[in-house]
Symmetry: D3
Subunit: 67 residues, 6 copies
């Protein structure tokens, strides 16, 4: 019954990549804790680069500044 | 002052249905714990079916596979 | 497959009350959106009153001040 | 390494305002707890007014009702 | 800069298992999306079985009922 | 009606520091977006250092390694 929430910036992750994140995170819970994959939920949230900050700056700003 | 976060797949929930979720979740906290509805917050997040996984598969995939 | 997260202050909710929150939130998703209860997950998080604020004040402070 | 998640209704916050939220929340963690700003992450989530409720009513409804 | 939140029931996960979850989730983001591990954050939340519900029942209840 | 969730490692933040985080985060939303402080909620979550990872390692491990 684990619940995994993955937040990433919205920068073009494809459906195939998302499917890999879902499969991989589910398998991780199976391998490490023996959880039942049938009830393991993974939710991916994609966040605009204006809305994500690190080091006190938005990712939009950091991308422009080459950071 | 409770905070309720409801995550569902984005598959056409109407404003009326969302209003019912908000009213119902608020009433639940009033009924069970005697919370003040005026300060009970409900946030509904709708997640694309590509971004939601269960059983190691995305909901998009499961819908196509008839699961 | 909905996921419901209920955050409340840690002030003595009993196992019975938590069971009512779980049953009620699950039923709400069934009634309003026709979701499958078997895959509806509810997680209750209890937060110390020092760690919850509203109006710029902690709940601990507000309780002492009679608010 | 703090993580700050700010949820607001989607009502026209500008990139400049979001940058101020990111800078301000990061500085707050530095000032109060001496955290390293380089590893402080801020994520802003904007929620449709249909999807946010308080007092058992959606914000969409409350805006129309003049509340 | 991804952020991964893993919620599990509090049923004796060891520090070693948690370390494996942290390492595995971080590597997943590196492998699938080429993210920088140095800024990938993983937070594990352990939830009491009274506070986690599925199928409208708490995990405490389901464990006793042999489900 | 904003909701702010601050996750930090559990390493001795005092009630006074938490009160400062609550007051500061609330004021930030007032200053930047003109939000009503009376309905601004701040929830602080303190996470064990075993349960928080960055760079693929737990904070417990990093503290011991002097990182």
């Amino acid at each position: 019954m684990p619940f995994v929430n993955i937040k990433i910036t919205k920068e073009g992750a494809t459906p195939e990549q998302k499917a890999q994140l879902i499969a991989g995170a589910t398998q991780l819970l199976v391998d490490v804790l023996g959880k039942n994959p049938a009830t393991t939920v993974v939710v991916i949230e994609e966040v605009e680069t204006d809305n994500w900050g690190v080091g006190g700056e938005s990712i939009t700003f950091r991308r422009k500044a080459g950071r």
